[in-house]
Symmetry: C2
Subunit: 303 residues, 2 copies
Amino acid sequence: MLNLQILGSGAATPTLTRGVTAQYLNFNERKILIDCGEGTQLQLRKFKVKFQRIQYIFISHLHGDHYLGLFGLLSSMHLLGRKTKIHIFAPPELEEIMDTQFRLTYVKLNFEIIFHSIKLKEKTLVFEDNSIEVFAFPLKHRIPCYGYLFKEKIKERGIIKEMIEEFDLKIPEIIQFKRGNDVTREDGTVLNHLEFTTHPPKPQSYAFCTDTKYIENLKEIVADVDILYHEATFKHDMLDRAKATFHTTAQQAATLAKNANVKQLILGHFSQRYGETTEIEEEAKATFENTKCVEDGDVFLVN
Amino acid sequence: MLNLQILGSGAATPTLTRGVTAQYLNFNERKILIDCGEGTQLQLRKFKVKFQRIQYIFISHLHGDHYLGLFGLLSSMHLLGRKTKIHIFAPPELEEIMDTQFRLTYVKLNFEIIFHSIKLKEKTLVFEDNSIEVFAFPLKHRIPCYGYLFKEKIKERGIIKEMIEEFDLKIPEIIQFKRGNDVTREDGTVLNHLEFTTHPPKPQSYAFCTDTKYIENLKEIVADVDILYHEATFKHDMLDRAKATFHTTAQQAATLAKNANVKQLILGHFSQRYGETTEIEEEAKATFENTKCVEDGDVFLVN
C-alpha cells in the first residue's frame, strides 16, 4: 500500500499557510521522507507522523527550501533517543555540509547515518529491497537536482484456492506456480501455471519531480505511475519566468502527465504570488483532468 | 525604548506550542534578533515582525535549537530582495559553517554579512553606536556559549525649559549643559549646569542568559538590569540533572535575579517534560517575586 502525505507544498520560503517541500511516504511499510525543508519536523508533529520511524530520506537538491530542515530533524531524532540507523540519499555536497556542521558544533549522533551520494546522468536504481525499488533521475534546475521514482516490485501470481484441493497441490508446487513456473509431476503430467494462478496485482508507483524545467522526455521515466507529483511553480502566462528560473508551469506539468499516461497528477511548489490555487488547477485540468493542487496535510492513497 | 518579543521559549526541539530559542529586540530603534532556532522566520511572520528590518543577530551558541533557523532566515531575506547588510555576532565556527553551506549549495546572497567572531573569557564590549552598547560574556555550557548584555548609553541631561527664557540661553550653552558642563559667560558669570538641567533618565538594559549552569558571579554582570532573561530548563528538584547537562533551575535563576537586584526576571528554555509552567514560576517567585515564565509571542516593554 502506498500512502503519501504532503508535509509542505510551498516554494522558496515557508509561510503560515504552506510549509516548504517535504513529503512522507509509507510504501509497503517502508517509511520514507522526501525532501526536508525548514520546519519539516514541526509539520511531522502537526500531522502526527511518528518521525522516529523514518528509515529513508531522499533529498532532491540543495536549495534551502528542500533540505534545511534536515539538521533539526536529525538533531531531534538524536535528542529523543534514536538509535536506529537512517539512510540519506542526496547530492554529495550534503555529506560535506553535514560533516562540517556536526564537527564544528560538537554533535555526535547516537545513530548511524548511511549516506548515499546521488550524482548521475540518467535514471539509475539507487535502492531496492524485497518489496520496492527506487530510481533517481536528473531534472533540469539551476543546480544539480534529482527526481525519484518509487516502484513496487512485481508481486507473485495469486494461487487459485479451489485448485489446491482439486489437484492436491504440494507447497513446492504452489511456490513454483506463484513464481510463474509450470510444474512437471513425477508421472510426467505438466501443470500449466496459467491455469492455477491469477495475474499478480499491478505494481504501485509514485514519481516525485521538483524543481525542474519542463522535460518532455520525463514521460518515459514516469510512464503509467499511479501518482505523479510535479512542481507547478507558475501558471502558463508566466512561461518566460518559469524558463528563466528553471521551473514548470501547470499546463506543462499536465502535458507531461497526459503524455506519460499517469493515473493522477498532484501539483505543488506554488510561487507565493498565488494566494490560492483554483486557477492553477483549472489550467492543468484543461489538459489532464485528474489533477489536484495539494495543500499541507493532504493524503493520497493507492490501494 | 526597549521592546522585547519572545519568538521561541522552548528547549531542544520545537513543538507546536513552543518554538525554540529566538527573541526580537527593538532597542531605541536598533532591530536585533537574539538566537535563531529552526522556524524563527515563521515565528517572525506569526508575530508580524518585519524581518527585513533586522540589522543585528546575536547567537549564544551552536546548539541546533539556537542557530539552525539562521540559514533559512538569511535565505528568505535574500529571496525577498534584501540588499542591506546584516551583522552577525556568534562563535567563530558559525562563519565556517555558513561559508561551507553557501559554497556547496551555490548560494550568493545579494547582501553583505558582517561576521563578528565571539570568543572571549570575560565580559567584553562587542558593539556600540551612539545609543546602545552590547557586551558579550561567557556562560558555562557543554560547548562555548555566551550571554549578551544590551545597555543604553547614558543619555544627555534634560534642560529645564523655563531657564532658557529666563537666562536667554544660546544653543551652544544648552549643548554644554546637556553634556553636564558648566558655562562661563563673557562677563565672567559661571552658570552651574546642575541648576539648568535635570538628571538624565536611567539607561535601560536587558540581559540574555541561555544556556548555562548557574553562575554566581553573573550577578555582577547583570546587576540592576531592567529585564533579565535567564534559562530555567528545570525545576530545582532536578538540580542534579541541571548540573549534569549544564543548565539552571528556576530557583537558581531567581537567586541570581535577587542577588543582582534586577527589576524583572523572565524565564524560558523549559524542558519539554513540563507541559505548563505554573510550578516553575511559583518556585522562582518564592525567591524573586517579579518573575514571569514566558510564552511565544510575549512582549516586554521598558519605557
